[in-house]
């Protein structure tokens, strides 16, 4: 065991830190800490500008091979980048779907033409992507899609509805899972991954207001929306494995570095507990210590995962474990956030606005990207080999 990062990794960390210090200034400094989970509709224009600023520094698409404009960074370097990013309070990324979902899928399954067409815009921070996976009747049971796509006259025609799509208004493109063979024997078959331009009459967007009062997500309606016949990634009718493979890997990797973002939230709550006097209550102290320990262990778990999988980048088993761990932790943190505010906790106080938001938002953490029930199923069946 060796818990020191290598000299190269430490140098990389310093490079990231220095760049962020230098560039998180002006308008960007004003949006420090904004645009993260639960706040994804905040300062979108500024964050689009920031994405291009990042691109200018070469900090987008770190993990992509250099031939596609990435840095070819190791998993370690990626995590170091996320950690420093969180430490600096740099704003929530608008390029997430392109960099972590669409890009890797195109790299793995796309044609040379698709690579040339789609990857540079993601690297440059100019093309934003949104994700068209979930539907009203395809949540936990994602394969239960009803959005249909048909190839007619050399174009795909899409009809159906997607939900929980973030940044739908801003994205130029949607990465959509569609049913292309409704006669397929199993519902996982007959699904195709399509790349669909958002700026067309057949696409309409209706924001979904969340319990936080904000609207990070939207419904996307396809009514005879069209895309070129070549805008298919992977085999026609064979999109399920394409979509799932990338999803599992990237969900894992992108959460390994988030612990430092949580440190900021935790520290904020500890500070509030001191301000309100809640920090003197032994029951609150017990919970603060417990959450502190579990937060430390969240990073240790990530480091073990990294050590085991830095080479193969195969995180599908770990993804469920990581998701279940952090979502339960975060929900508990959200409850603590209210408890440290004491008897006037429910009154909206500008000083503690983010604690209210955290409390409410964390209820979604145990639901989106696979409910905790689904995660436990996956852990039991995949990690423990229990029978279906």
């Amino acid at each position: 065991m060796n818990l020191s990062f290598s000299a190269e990794d430490e140098a990389f960390r310093q490079e990231v830190r220095a760049w962020l210090d230098e560039h998180m200034v002006g308008d960007f400094a004003r949006i420090r800490g904004r645009g993260g989970l639960g706040d994804m509709d905040a300062f979108v224009d500024e964050r689009i500008a920031w994405e291009r600023e990042l691109a200018g520094g070469g900090w987008t698409c770190l993990g992509w091979p250099t031939e596609y404009g990435g840095r070819g960074a190791s998993l370690f370097e990626e995590v170091i980048f996320y950690e420093e990013y969180a430490r600096a309070g740099a704003p929530g990324r608008v390029g997430h779907v392109g960099e972590h979902l669409l890009g890797p899928t195109v790299i793995a399954h796309g044609s040379d033409a698709q690579k040339a067409r789609f990857l540079p815009g993601i690297v440059a921070g100019t093309d934003l992507w949104c994700q068209g996976y979930s539907e009203p009747n395809a949540g936990s049971d994602l394969a239960n899609l009803s959005t249909r796509a048909e190839l007619r006259d050399g174009r795909w025609h899409l009809t159906g509805q997607k939900v929980w799509t973030s940044l739908a208004e801003q994205a130029q493109w949607c990465f959509a899972l569609c049913k292309t063979d409704p006669t397929a024997a199993k519902k996982h078959h007959g699904i195709t991954c399509l790349l669909v331009p958002m700026d067309q009459p057949g696409v309409s967007i209706v924001p979904i207001k969340q319990i936080t009062g904000s609207s990070e997500f939207a419904e996307v309606f396809f009514e005879d929306a069209v895309t070129d016949k070549d805008n298919v990634v992977g085999p026609i009718h064979g999109g399920w494995r394409v979509a799932m493979g990338t999803l599992a890997v990237e969900r894992g990797a992108s959460t390994l570095g988030q612990q430092l973002a949580f440190v900021g939230e935790f520290d904020r709550i500890v500070a509030a507990a001191k301000e309100t006097g809640a920090a003197s209550n032994p029951l609150i102290r017990d919970r603060i210590a417990d959450l502190h320990m579990r937060l430390k262990v969240m990073r240790l778990n990530a480091m073990r995962t990294l050590s085991a999988h830095a080479a193969d980048r195969e995180l599908s088993r770990e993804a469920s474990i990581v998701k279940l761990y952090w979502s339960v932790w975060h929900r508990d943190l959200g409850e603590l956030a209210m408890d440290v505010l004491g008897e006037s906790s429910a009154i909206c106080d500008p000083r503690y606005e983010e604690l209210h938001r955290l409390f409410l938002w964390t209820r979604s953490d145990t639901i989106y990207a696979g409910t905790n029930q689904i995660q436990r199923n996956l852990i039991a069946q995949r990690a423990l080999g229990m029978p279906r």
Partner: protein, 346 residues
């Protein structure tokens, strides 16, 4: 022994449920169809239903009914998240009933029975006795205080009453959008001091009402979850057929039924003047608030993404759950008080 609603209490419950169902829902109010504090609704509550007069003694112009009857009504208020504003008035009633002498009861409770809404400021204001009587100074928050024509103030120096228009009131933004709170500010304002030392008894009554309200709300969240689990299909089956969802709902049912037992008993014990009434009210408040919070959170989980949207009622219950948690003592504080009686000083 009959630990169940009597025929009259069942009638009252059904009347309340019927009346509340015909009012604009919490959802309606949130979307601007109707207002949270509607004098016309209050007039009907006071005149048609007479609920503000339930606890008021007959001598003061009320019905002289018990805590149980008022609790039955509050369980229905909780179920629909109706504000009205009956809670503030009931809080004030409890304080006037327990801390007011006959004269004060006749005057102030008489006004409440006659339809004047009221509210209570539990902390933040202090009193001073001067040559011309008591004056109040400070600021606090009153649930349902916006429409109140009467304010009851709990100060370290005693419990005070004053006409609400003597105080400055401003709406306070609040996590719970279904019940209005106002900030109350007073400066050298004269007030009448109530003379009976009944603050703890009054708190006990208020805790009991909050508990009943929470029970109704908790049951509503369970019902939402069960109903949704029957119709929501994933993997070719209603999600309510999955053991994980069934077990969540089974645990919710235990929490709801147990909280109801605790809340009913607290009301009975108060009416009977039982020795354990104080503890029973704490137990009810703690268990019902914990049950509501648990159930409201789990109901969101059972609903999945839809439960996290503004359009669905889940969040209204969840926000109510968190806002009543700290009202009149966090469950933790009630447990600490019960531990004190069981174990003595720490």
């Amino acid at each position: 022994m009959d630990f169940a609603l009597s025929w009259e209490q069942t009638q009252l419950k059904e009347a309340a449920a019927g009346f509340l169902a015909a009012l604009p829902s919490a959802r309606d109010l949130l979307e601007g169809r109707g207002t949270l504090e509607d004098p016309a609704v209050w007039k009907r509550v006071a005149e048609e239903q007479g609920w503000p007069a339930i606890l008021v003694p007959e001598e003061a112009g009320g019905f002289g009914f018990g805590q149980v009857e008022l609790s039955v009504v509050f369980e229905e208020f909780g179920r629909t998240l109706t504000s009205c504003p009956l809670l503030g008035t009931a809080f004030a009633t409890a304080l006037l009933l327990e801390c007011g002498d006959a004269q004060a009861q006749e005057r102030w409770l008489g006004a409440i029975a006659a339809g004047e809404p009221a509210a209570v400021v539990w902390s933040g204001i202090s009193a001073e006795e001067g040559p011309f009587g008591w004056t109040l100074e400070g600021q606090g928050v009153a649930v349902d205080g916006g429409m109140a024509s009467l304010l009851v103030i709990v100060a370290p120096q005693g419990v005070f009453v004053l006409p609400a228009d003597l105080a400055d009131r401003t709406r306070v933004p609040h996590l719970d959008p279904t019940r209005p709170s106002v900030g109350v500010s007073v400066s050298a304002v004269p007030a009448e001091r109530l003379t009976v030392d009944g603050l703890e008894r009054a708190r006990m009554r208020c805790e009991s009402l909050l508990a009943s309200e929470a029970v109704g709300a908790a049951e509503a969240t369970l019902q939402l979850a069960v109903d949704y689990s029957r119709v929501r299909t994933q993997f070719g089956k209603p999600i309510g057929s999955f053991q994980a969802i069934q077990h969540i709902c089974a645990d919710m049912l235990l929490a709801v039924e147990s909280a109801r037992s605790a809340a009913w008993y607290a009301a009975c014990a108060i009416d009977a003047g039982a020795d354990d009434a104080r503890e029973a009210a704490r137990t009810a408040k703690a268990m019902a608030c914990d049950a509501l919070f648990h159930c409201a959170g789990q109901s969101i989980q059972v609903h999945g993404g839809i439960g996290f949207t503004w359009e669905h009622d889940c969040h209204l219950y969840f926000k109510r759950a968190r806002s009543v948690m700290d009202l009149l003592g966090h469950p933790r504080e009630h447990r600490a008080a019960v531990a004190q009686t069981l174990l003595g000083d720490a």
